[in-house]
């Protein structure tokens, strides 16, 4: 709102320049809402207050829910009828504002808290010791149910294991290979070029063993879930008793972070289920953090290289920016230091 002082100043400015034909500002003009801006403001304030009161009155005392219910019902029936008719003609009709979507964290899963992952910083690599421990957790716990079809033993070399270690890890399992000279398939120990062993031969077998639920492949799971690391970590440790009134079917488990709340995976991370070789405490949250870091690496194996590249790009771009600023000033120095002087020539007085 324009203050009174501002008004008088404008008015005075007018008087000062009265040699010109006086032009009136729109704000000082009498209009349909009052004699001047202040009056108009008052008018709008009153109008807003009045319509709020009238609106409140109408919605609470005149068009009450009881009275409106039949109208809503009629509208919704009509729109259903309309949709049906449209469908007969092969048109999927979606009438806006006729559908209500309520958001419920029970249906969508509780949002996980944001944890301070140390590799979230733009200049931090993964903690490779953590990836190594996480692989151990995956191998000893999760791999009983979850495959990782896109992670090969060779991927571990130079990331979390030495070549000799990765070879030894692969050789712990038997893989089918072949056919041999006689056309027979045969079993041989795993090699670096083999993927993580599958716990089940196919999806049907996996479902049959897990009460109908399919334990998803974990190769890209961090990419594949909203909340990424935060979600996986919260899910692994989020098991608790269901709240009163929530019934969990036999074979399912309550986990508020899982959409719907009932998950077929039982809690598998407990204190000390894995023994670390490097002396890191093996409590449940450490195990969950490590396995989540490992899964994050599996989803984003290019992470370290990408961040390093990004920093180099920023450094080079900063240099180029400096150079281009210098270049611009170099080129413009001629224009900027030019002085334009008007020297009137001889001309006749009129």
């Amino acid at each position: 709102m324009l203050s009174k002082v501002a008004y008088t100043t404008t008015a005075r400015a007018f008087r000062a320049s009265s040699t010109f034909r006086p032009v009136r500002f729109a704000s000082t003009q009498a209009g349909p809402f009052g004699a001047n801006r202040k009056a108009a403001m008052m008018w709008f304030t009153k109008a807003a207050a009045a319509s709020a009161i009238v609106g409140y009155g109408i919605s609470n005392y005149v068009l009450t829910d009881d009275r409106m219910a039949p109208v809503y019902k009629a509208v919704s029936e009509a729109s259903t009828e309309l949709k049906k008719k449209a469908k007969e003609f092969g048109i999927e009709l979606e009438i806006p504002f006729t559908v209500a979507h309520a958001f419920s964290t029970a249906d969508h899963g509780l949002h996980p808290p944001h944890y301070p992952w140390d590799h979230y910083s733009p200049w931090k690599s993964y903690d490779h010791a953590s990836i190594r421990r996480g692989f151990q957790v995956y191998k000893e716990v999760c791999s009983a149910c979850h495959s990782m079809d896109y992670i090969y033993y060779r991927n571990l070399v130079g990331v979390s294991h030495t070549e000799a270690e990765a070879k030894a890890l692969a050789a712990e399992y038997e893989y089918e290979d072949g056919p041999d000279d006689s056309g027979q398939m045969f079993m041989r120990p795993g090699k670096l070029t083999d993927a993580m062993p599958k716990p089940y031969p196919n999806e049907e077998a996996a479902r049959a063993a897990n009460g109908g639920a399919y334990p998803p492949d974990l190769s890209c799971i961090v990419r594949a879930r909203h909340g990424e690391e935060d979600y996986i970590f919260a899910l692994l440790l989020g098991y608790c008793d269901p709240p009163a009134g929530v019934n969990i079917r036999e074979g399912l488990h309550y986990n508020p972070y899982f959409p719907g709340g009932a998950i077929a995976m039982a809690r598998s991370i407990f204190d000390e289920v894995v023994d670390y070789e490097d002396g890191t405490p093996n409590n449940a949250s450490q195990l969950a953090k490590d396995v989540t870091t490992f899964l994050s690496w599996a989803s984003y194996p290019e992470h370290d290289e990408r961040k390093k590249m990004g920093l180099k790009t920023l450094a080079i771009s900063a240099m180029l920016l400096g150079l281009s600023v210098w270049w611009k000033r170099f080129k413009w120095s001629y224009v900027k230091s030019k002085k334009i002087v008007y020297r009137p020539g001889k001309f006749d007085e009129v």
């Binding site: 690599s125 190594r132 390093k308």
Partner: protein, 61 residues
């Protein structure tokens, strides 16, 4: 003195296009090596103890 150096530089690098081009290639080569060395060192020191090369000694036979 400064002008002597400038003159020398001009004569060696800018006088002939072939020398100019060779100079660009050579300095790009040198710059890349220097830049990569420095930035890798910075990266490694920020991430000390986190990368595989920092922990591999524990596992290599």
């Amino acid at each position: 003195m400064a002008s002597a150096i400038a003159k020398q530089t001009y004569n060696v690098f800018f006088r002939r296009s072939s020398a100019y081009l060779a100079g660009i290639f050579a300095s790009a080569f040198a710059f890349e090596i220097a830049f990569d060395t420095v930035s890798d060192r910075v990266w490694d020191s920020i991430n000390k103890g986190r990368q595989w090369k920092d922990i591999r000694d524990k596992y290599i036979q």
